[in-house]
Symmetry: C2
């Protein structure tokens, strides 16, 4: 006969037999209303009762059931955060910003990831709404705008990586085109003319914007756009590695690379290294994002800094305002070029 390893659950509710306000009230010799009032600090409670309740709470190790409180109050004090992948520095840095904005507000983030799968995304959002989140933060979602608008009827939404405007729907988007321009202009100013762009995924709007910025800078310097110098990628190291390896194999000549993001730049850097090409002596390299690690690779990467932390913070702050029924128009943090050691004047 198996030994039961824990107390049987009561047939309904509360596992094992956690203490409730009823038990605290009994132990303290007051009514549950008084306990509740004391807990929420809503009304004055006489000193004597207060002490009795304190004692009872300590003795019984009472911990209020936040679920019950949420149900009763109709406020979960929770916001949902939808990310694509918790294992990407790009998202996690934003999450830290979200945490910072929420600190001290009593709100907790409920983080879910949809692993770049649109179907999962809709499902996750549904689940968040079921859990009564008071607002949702969509970090780089791929859901069509129409669907977001419909969801925003249920709950306020702030989405990053998009331009959106609505009563309870807000987009927060950095100037990717400007960032691409900045990166490319930097290379042009150093005298580079054969500049490869290791691009992002075809269907990604951010990637498209960065490419557009690249083209604008080229045009401004009177450099003809050469389609052969734009190679496809996937925003990951493998993409940069494969693209540059392929390009080198074909014997295409160039003196600089602007990668669509830092991970792509790392891959590109490795491809260059494998062929004995030095950075920046032989080839200059610029990334996009400025991941924490980018300042510590060798040589430290010149890149376009995305203020991920600020974006997360601004987005969460805006969401909080939306939840409170106040108008919100978050200021979008600006991108800036961080010149480190992977770029040099062309020889």
């Amino acid at each position: 006969m198996p030994i039961p390893t824990r107390r049987k659950r009561s047939e309904s509710g509360n596992a094992g037999g956690a203490v409730t306000t009823v038990q605290v009230a009994e132990a303290a010799g007051v009514s549950i209303a008084t306990v509740s009032r004391y807990l929420s600090g809503q009304a004055r409670v006489s000193e004597a009762k207060r002490d009795a309740i304190d004692a009872a709470i300590a003795q019984l190790k009472f911990k209020p059931n936040l679920l019950a409180r949420s149900l009763k109050r109709g406020r979960s004090m929770t916001i949902g955060v939808l990310t694509q992948d918790v294992n990407s520095p790009f998202f996690t840095e934003t999450l830290v910003g979200v945490e910072a904005a929420l600190e001290g507000t009593g709100y907790q983030p409920l983080i879910v990831s949809s692993h770049w799968r649109p179907a999962e995304e809709a499902d996750r959002i549904r689940s968040l709404i079921g859990r009564q989140v008071e607002g949702i933060l969509v970090l780089i979602g791929s859901l069509p705008q129409a669907q977001l608008l419909k969801l925003a009827e249920d709950v306020p939404i702030v989405a990053t990586g998009r331009e959106l405007q609505g009563q309870r729907l807000l987009g927060l988007r950095v100037d990717n085109e400007g960032g691409g321009y900045l990166a490319t202009r930097h290379l042009l100013e150093l005298g580079h003319r054969r500049i490869v762009h290791a691009a992002g995924p075809d269907d990604n709007v951010d990637a498209a914007d960065r490419l557009a910025g690249y083209r604008r800078a080229l045009a401004e310097f009177g450099v003809a756009f050469d389609r052969k110098l734009v190679v496809p990628g996937n925003f990951r190291e493998t993409g940069g590695l494969m693209a540059l390896t392929h390009l080198l194999d074909k014997g295409v000549s160039f003196t600089a690379v602007f990668a669509a993001n830092d991970q792509t730049a790392f891959g590109a850097r490795l491809a260059l290294h494998r062929r004995g090409l030095r950075v920046p002596e032989d080839v200059s390299l610029v990334g996009f994002d400025d991941l924490p690690i980018s300042a510590f690779v060798t040589p430290p990467l010149t890149t376009v800094h995305q203020p991920m932390f600020d974006i997360g913070k601004a987005a969460a702050a805006a969401l909080l305002r939306l939840i409170a029924g106040e108008p919100a128009a978050p200021e979008v943090p600006a991108l800036k070029l961080v010149v480190r050691e992977t770029t040099a004047r062309v020889r």
Copy 2:
């Protein structure tokens, strides 16, 4: 007069006026019990009523309130995950493993971070318990064991980075000493004798174990331990950078570095680079962790692979067993050395 931006909340409960089972039942012409049964799939419901309920749900856009369900059932279908920092690849990789283990079980992770602050850690755990999590996963916590044991009375706990055993408490710890030994032996086998150890924080047990492994390998090869070759760090890039810079300034000679983790190795690598020392031609370098980026830095880092994903998966699976009241004894995934391109035979 201010324009109200959203519907006023009803004085209690449910924001705005979300649809409930009552309304679905009315619209479908059945009782709420039937709606509930249909939703949970617990019992048979006649075809006709099923269709009516489906129609009502679709028409009213009903979404069940999971909070109410949890309260009633006494099961939140949630596990708490305490991390130190969501913005560390070390943790996030583990989180992905946790997600994988939870997939399809109906359980959701509730992720909180305590930012390396022990006080916050206790606070976060309390909050998780308040939210009725059915179990808690502590990723590299710093809470003393006694406190964990006390908490485990309330809710099953699995902690990584510790050895623990209890009815409802489990530790999951990799063999850090063995890993340190592996790394160091590799360098010794390449002929290195003056091997620097860029250590982790003084008070960290993992760091201490890795150092112990380093010493064991040294002893095994008959190399005297030299205290001056062990330099302190903080498990981050800055630590490795400063420690190695300092060592180089002092003119200490060495031919290899074993860093307590990859981030430290990146910092060390940069310090070497700044002094014109080549890796691995002049100095060999070994890390510990095998972060995703480590395969893509230049040159790709030789390091001890920690199966973070597997650890997260095993820990979460064990927790689920604990929650179900079953005994759990997770197998601890093994460490292995991944030889890449930062180590070479000494010249």
